[in-house]
């Protein structure tokens, strides 16, 4: 095909690129250096006209929007499930809390109970079981509130749908699920926010129970 015909083919394709496959588009644009040059020029033309349209920027308002976004980000980081502490530290904190509460419960039984009995009341205070569980979760929450801001997010036993929702929002992509049952699968997954979407998808594919594909601005999970 002559060089002129290649550029004509490029112009025709650009009238309706959605009607062509990705391979066809790349083949047309990449036909020869003249065609590539023509496409580069068209991009440069578009950019030069767009630059003319650029309006004034209100930096003060932009800073306010940025501060709001920073505020949202700090709020996200206080959620319990995003913890940077290793598992052994969390287990140790839980054991320490249980030990403390158990000690308090024993003390309550020995000192408070006799007082209550002597007043003629029945039953017992300090239900060690539920009280222990409540205190453990508070300890973990309090500890997590003091964790400094990080760009690494650790999902610990979090459903895939929840994880993918946040990841997709960050990269500005859409997610669809090939099988409904995968939405509820839970994983321990480390997401470094500075990584590109392709790397994140590659890491997700290390899990044997899911298969993740990214095509342009669309992620499919099967």
């Amino acid at each position: 095909m002559s060089r002129n015909e290649n550029i004509d083919r490029l112009m025709e394709m650009m009238e309706n690129p959605q009607a062509y496959s990705e391979e066809e588009i790349r083949e047309i644009v990449d036909a020869d250096e003249e065609t590539r040059e023509a496409y580069r020029l068209m991009v440069a033309a578009k950019r030069s006209y767009e630059a003319r349209k650029a309006g004034e920027v209100n930096v003060g308002k932009a800073w306010e929007r940025f501060e709001e976004r920073m505020g949202e980000k700090m709020g996200e980081r206080s959620i319990v499930r995003r913890t940077e502490r290793p598992m052994w530290m969390r287990v140790a904190a839980s054991v320490a809390a249980i030990g403390l509460i158990s000690g308090l419960a024993v003390a309550a039984v020995h000192y408070v109970m006799p007082m209550m009995w002597s007043e003629g009341r029945e039953g017992s205070e300090g239900r060690g079981g539920s009280g222990t569980a409540t205190v453990v979760s508070r300890v973990e929450a309090a500890a997590n509130d003091s964790i400094p801001a990080e760009t690494t997010v650790v999902y610990d036993n979090v459903p895939l749908e929840e994880m993918m929702g946040e990841i997709a929002r960050h990269y500005g992509v859409e997610v669809t699920y090939g099988r409904e049952e995968v939405r509820g699968l839970r994983f321990h997954f480390v997401w470094k926010r500075e990584q590109g979407i392709e790397k994140v998808v590659e890491n997700l594919n290390h899990f044997e129970s899911v298969r993740v594909k990214v095509e342009g601005s669309h992620i499919t999970v099967e």
Binding site: E37, A44, K46, S48, M70, S217
Partner: protein
Amino acid sequence: MTDKEHSERKMAVRGLFYEHYGDMMRYATSILYSEEEAEDVVQDVFMRMMEVERLPESGKVRTYLMTAVRNGSLNRIRQKSVATQVERLYPIEAVEYRADSGEGQMEVCEVAEMVLQEPHRSIFRLRFGEDMKLKEIAECLDMNIKTVFKYLGQAIKCIKKEFCYEQE
């Protein structure tokens, strides 16, 4: 980062924001053609500045910021399908993207206005400045679509020759 360090960092980033935000937005908008997407990219860069271990040295800040804007904008483009990239006239991977400061590339429309005669000049502007399809341009100028196609091809080849000549 402690609260005190966070406050100090925020003060420093605020200074850089006020100094560079306008130029960064203009540059990102020139690549993405959308102020909304440009703001996302620029804010991402400043969010990163809040989180890095150390800010760039004062002499290198502008280069760092503009490079980050360029890379962030191109990454955003790469997330779209190739058909969408072509439809919106983004640079695509098949065509090597030439490094630039965002300033040299702004002259094509001026070259077009200088060297093209009518109706080539109007067709060129309607196609790349107004994003009109050839069918719409043909209706607007009351011309046959094949004629519009021929004139646009001639305009592109003419500008290409002028633009390459200017770069030499």
